[in-house]
């Protein structure tokens, strides 16, 4: 998969490096407070519940449900226009529905952004995480319908 022209995360961002490191190991983690346990995403230095700066990372199951989605069409940056229309989804995690992640619904780890018929996507349908390796440092979490699941 070519990544030229794609917008990739800075995987050395001090608040997020552990998230991206876990993705490289094909683990989905969310940030939590090491003192009070409250989870928060996107990650940030301080716990908004107890003001602790102590951070931990909790591994989650990687199962979730589609909370919403959109289907971008051009005008877009060239790398994205080339695969438009594609989908972008928001997934709420099964372990903790208060945690939502933006991603894409694909057919598998190397599935194209436009590989799922947008007309088939439903809010509430179950999904599971897959890890798409783009570069040595960037592995993005994306989502697919569970095998034999109720999706589609």
């Amino acid at each position: 998969m070519t990544v030229e022209g794609w917008l990739l995360p800075d995987t050395e961002d001090p608040d997020a490096a552990e998230f991206w490191a876990a993705c490289r190991e094909r683990r989905l983690v969310v940030q939590g407070c090491a003192d009070c346990g409250a989870r928060r995403m996107p990650p940030r230095p301080m716990c908004p519940r107890c003001r602790s700066l102590a951070v931990r990372w909790d591994e989650v199951s990687g199962r979730g449900r589609i909370w919403s989605f959109c289907v971008p069409h051009p005008p877009l940056l060239p790398a994205y226009a080339a695969v438009a229309p594609y989908n972008a989804v928001i997934v709420e995690l099964e372990d903790d529905p208060a945690i939502r992640l933006v991603g894409n619904l694909v057919t598998g780890p190397d599935g194209a952004l436009n590989g799922v018929d947008p007309a088939s996507i439903r809010i509430g349908e179950p999904v599971e995480v897959v890890f798409c390796r783009l570069t040595d440092d960037v592995t993005l979490p994306r989502w697919r319908r569970p095998a034999g699941g109720a999706g589609g």
Binding site: D10, P42, P48, S68, L76, V102, I123
Partner: protein, 386 residues
């Protein structure tokens, strides 16, 4: 609670604007200067009387340049407001607060913008790697404001049964108003429901006509004390109430991570605005609601209390937003979707025209007019009165 001491202490006494277009030759600074000069002429106030300046933090031509070009006096109050489209009403509000508290006597607030300019379209600026909160959306192809709002819109439609017909109600009402306004970009371009429904997608569920225009242009207002306003040439548009709103756990544009993403900034700014006002939503005869995208209108109608939660889409039915017979004629100059998109500043000047009685879709004897800034970003709102 007693009367808010800020109520009606200041007024907008001058408005000015440039033509709206694409590819205007002027720089953003030159556009700003033209609009401010026009606003001062409209007010009958000399440039050397201006001692306060408030602008958007995104503004290209800042206070120093504006003051040197226009020959303003010694500036004793100046500040900037962030978050793009959320800033418009706040610039006026900050100017009014400064005048009301004696920090300055005559303040100018403005916005100049060239959408063709690279700096005006942050999403098109490709940086090598995405840092900060954008790394939780951009790498997944959520590139533009329209994609960010499309995600919220789909959830809103799913939750409350809103439809594309409701969004069309918004687009068509504002286009009808623009068709009466010679200054509007879309003055000569009628829009039908069939054309709306056949338009190309930009980010499903949003089509071309759910988006604001892309405009070069500038607007400015002059704010001074109620006492001074009484001696100037136009009927003052008194700043009756003003509020800002940055909800807890809010994230700019990609506000998906808080407990309840469909309760946007208007749910904070709205109740605070009414708590400082002698008017209630039911008293408001005309409104200018920030419309970078059509779904922001039902969201704002809810947050500012014109209907209950989830009822904003249904509110738009039966021509409710349309002048002259709707229950709440809204964006009576055409708004960002059909007059010009200058970060919502044309909504402020149109509210002043409604108070003066000079709108091309004039609501008779409008006692007050609500103006709101961007929903989806830290926002602000104004209630102007006669």
């Amino acid at each position: 609670m007693g009367r808010d001491p800020f109520q009606d202490r200041t007024a907008i006494v001058g408005i000015g604007q440039t033509p709206f277009g694409k590819g205007l030759a002027d720089s953003e600074l030159a556009l700003a200067c033209r609009a401010i000069a026009a606003a001062l002429d409209d007010a009958g106030v000399r440039p050397n009387e201006v001692d306060g300046l408030v602008c958007f933090s995104m503004e290209d031509g800042r206070e120093v340049e504006v003051a040197r070009n226009l020959g303003l006096g010694d500036i004793t109050f100046f500040t900037q407001v962030g978050y793009g489209g959320g800033a418009g009403c706040a610039t006026v509000g900050h100017a009014a607060l400064a005048v009301a508290t004696g920090r300055c006597d005559v303040a100018v607030a403005w916005r100049a913008r060239k959408r063709a300019a690279r700096t005006s379209r942050p999403w098109s600026q490709v940086s090598e790697r995405i840092r900060g909160h954008w790394q939780w959306s951009r790498p997944f192809g959520v590139l533009r404001p329209v994609d960010e709002i499309a995600l919220l819109t789909r959830r809103y439609m799913h939750t409350y049964g809103a439809t594309r017909d409701h969004l069309a109600n918004v687009a068509l009402a504002f286009r009808k108003h623009a068709n009466r306004n010679p200054a509007a970009t879309m003055h000569d371009r009628p829009l039908t429901r069939e054309e709306y429904l056949a338009a190309r997608w930009i980010s499903e569920p949003l089509c071309l006509f759910d988006n604001c225009l892309e405009t070069d242009g500038a607007l400015a207002v002059v704010v001074t004390t109620a006492e001074r306003a009484a001696d100037l040439r136009h009927r003052p548009a008194y700043v009756h109430a003003y509020a800002q709103g940055l909800p807890r756990q809010h994230q700019v544009m990609t506000n998906y991570f808080c407990d309840d993403p469909l309760l946007g900034p208007s749910w904070v700014a709205g109740p605070k605005l009414w708590s400082r006002s002698e008017f209630r939503p039911a008293d408001v005869p005309v409104a200018q609601l920030y419309d970078a995208f059509s779904p922001l209108i039902p969201l704002s109608l809810e947050g500012y209390g014109f209907c209950g939660r989830g009822e904003g889409a249904a509110f738009t039915e039966d021509g409710a937003l349309e002048w002259p017979d709707g229950r709440l004629p809204t964006n009576t100059s055409g708004g960002g979707m059909s007059e010009a998109y200058v970060h919502g500043f044309n909504l402020v000047t149109e509210a002043v025209r409604q108070i003066r009685g000079t709108s091309t879709c004039q609501v008779p004897d409008a006692a007050c007019c609500l103006v709101t800034s961007g929903e989806g970003v830290p926002t602000s709102a104004l209630l102007l009165r006669r």
